[in-house]
């Protein structure tokens, strides 16, 4: 079975985000990119499936700063093939464009199961997985937190609010949007990644021209108004605790 895990890089929220001069996009000067957390889980889930029932795992993502690191990390976890998609990503490629462009590569890879994060913090035109599934004419199930493969099908645990889980049976080939891998992504020692840099080769595949249709056009971007901000309580731990006790009394829970 061929499993493909797809990732993208998103702004690291540890950094202060700034909006560019036009007011329609993030200022990329100060942007630090990090793997989308859910995609990290998708890669982990792919590796877990390989370890459990054998599969060939390919991991691919766009050729942006930081992608090599993700790919080498994936290789040292056990990915058989690591691919970066080259092309112009600076022109704000949206998910529609990416999904269309990646679809042909995925056909070449003859993927039976495609795993990708259920969402990313920059998604403005839906999630990658759902769009991709349709462009490949495959079924899609998102919010998945556990996958098992049984001859020609997968059984996925789909999460609903309130802790309810549905076991969905999906015919292969299929695309799944991963909410969480069965176990948190493992730690990969730096020396292992360095080893992978020597032994693994990152394949490069060109992406077709971006077709942005289907995405949104941003009119303006802004930070949420501070007006709704909480009343901040300052002081020492003791003073704050005393104030909180006062609030509890006001609300009437004491």
């Amino acid at each position: 079975m061929n499993i493909v895990a797809l990732f993208k890089l998103v702004p690291d929220l540890v950094e202060e985000l700034e909006i560019d001069q036009n007011g329609t996009a993030l200022n990329t000067d100060f942007l630090r990119l990090i793997i989308n957390e859910f995609d990290d889980h998708a890669i982990e889930q792919a590796i877990l499936l390989k370890e459990r029932s054998g599969a060939r795992v390919s991991v691919l993502g766009p050729d942006i700063e930081g992608a090599d690191d993700v790919l080498y990390t994936a290789a040292s976890k056990g990915a058989d093939q690591v691919i970066k998609l080259t092309g112009d990503f600076q022109g704000k490629a949206n998910n529609h464009a990416m999904a269309r462009a990646v679809a042909s590569t995925l056909k070449e890879l003859q993927a039976d199961l495609i795993l990708t994060g259920v969402q990313a913090n920059t998604d403005l035109d839906g999630s990658m997985g759902a769009l991709l599934a349709e462009y490949l004419d495959m079924p899609y199930v998102g919010y998945v937190s556990g996958v098992n493969t049984v001859d020609g099908k997968v059984v996925a645990r789909k999460e609903y609010p309130g802790g309810l889980v549905a076991e969905m049976e999906i015919k292969l080939p299929a695309v799944l949007g991963i909410q969480a891998a069965e176990q948190p992504p493992r730690y990969v020692a730096v020396s292992k990644v360095r080893q992978a840099m020597k032994t693994a080769t990152i394949e490069e595949r060109p992406l077709a021209e971006a077709d942005l249709s289907g995405g949104s056009t941003i009119h303006r971007m802004f930070k949420p108004e501070a007006g709704t901000r909480a009343e901040m309580i300052e002081g020492s731990a003791d003073e704050v605790a005393a104030r909180l006790v006062g609030i509890f009394k006001e609300i009437g829970v004491l």
């Binding site: 199930v141 998102g142 919010y143 609903y160 930070k223 901000r229 909480a230 009343e231 020492s236």
Partner: protein, 321 residues
């Protein structure tokens, strides 16, 4: 294309999700700018009764045994036909386990634009989305064609989407729903036997900032002193430090306590979705820029490991007195 705003009603096991009502309110706001009607779209089997209290001009109801429980394939097929045929101005989906499975696929299948994570609409009908974990808002143009939108809570009040008057219900023909590629095998119920946090008036919730499993004890002691229960955000549950039954947020429980004390929780939209409607939210987080402070009524940046024991101590003294 007409100017109506469609809302795909989300329901699970006989219960309409709050977000559905919230979307009806949002749809009304949008319809006022387009000049169309608000039309609810309900898919199900023997589920017509669910539509009775919806604040919509009309309800389109599709009944089919294959729609009794949600599966992405059956919903996609049904809605694809319906949208193609009726060409509304916009279709609202919940940004959820159900809505997100359907909206993206339909966008690609019908070649219609999709704008996700909308929290509200501007006065001139532009969708405003929340991205980057709640740190950035993006206002998009509404394209000149039928547009699909997914909505997140926070912009409107679900109560306003209910009405005492039953709307007109129009029954629609379901397409052929054979050869589905996705089928529901079974539901797995959440772990039982634990407290139901959605019914608790006082919740002490812990997030990543709690650092490790042992530290949860200080939250438990505070809960004991205050007479509440401990809940958690996703990272804490993912680590296996607390059971799923205590999870607050999009994939967990929705809570509306009198007091929600958030300890070391950053306040990602997925979490806020589960607790945003609490009466009083008090946030304790050392990161001044944490989005939790945008939903909290009170906040402090004192280290929770200093504050919580002090608070517990004070409460104990009061109890003794």
């Amino acid at each position: 294309m007409n100017q109506d705003i469609y809302v795909v009603i989300e329901h699970l096991r006989g219960q309409v999700a709050d977000i559905s009502y919230l979307m009806l309110v949002g749809a009304r706001a949008l319809a006022q700018t387009t000049g169309g009607e608000v039309i609810a779209v309900l898919l199900g089997h023997d589920a017509q009764g669910l539509a009775n209290n919806m604040a919509a001009n009309k309800v389109l109801y599709v009944d089919h045994p294959a729609l009794a429980e949600f599966t992405s394939d059956a919903y996609q097929k049904t809605l694809a036909g319906l949208i193609r045929e009726r060409e509304p101005r916009a279709v609202l989906f919940a940004s959820s386990s159900i809505g997100a499975d359907v909206s993206g696929v339909l966008s690609a299948r019908l070649n219609l634009p999709l704008i996700s994570s909308c929290q509200s609409f501007s006065a001139d009908g532009r969708p405003i989305s929340q991205i980057c974990g709640g740190k950035i808002m993006a206002e998009s143009d509404l394209p000149d064609t039928t547009t699909l939108l997914t909505m997140i809570p926070g912009g409107y009040k679900p109560e306003e989407g209910q009405s005492g008057k039953a709307p007109e219900i129009i029954k629609m023909e379901a397409p052929s729903l054979d050869n589905l590629r996705v089928t529901l095998k079974q539901y797995i119920e959440p772990e039982a036997g634990d407290v139901d946090i959605s019914k608790e008036p006082i919740i002490i919730s812990v997030g990543r900032g709690i650092q490790n499993q042992d530290n949860i004890e200080i939250a438990e002691e505070l809960a004991k002193a205050l007479g509440g229960v401990v809940a958690a955000s996703r990272p804490v549950v993912d680590q296996g430090w607390m059971s799923t039954s205590r999870l607050v947020g999009k994939s967990g429980k929705k809570v509306k306590p009198k007091i929600y004390l958030a300890l070391g929780i950053s306040g990602a939209p997925e979490h806020v979705e589960g607790m945003g409607e609490s009466e009083v939210i008090i946030a304790i987080n050392t990161d001044t820029n944490a989005p939790i402070f945008n939903v909290a009524k009170y906040g402090t940046t004192i280290d929770l490991f200093d504050l919580v024991p002090a608070l517990t101590e004070k409460l104990r003294e009061i109890k003794k007195a």
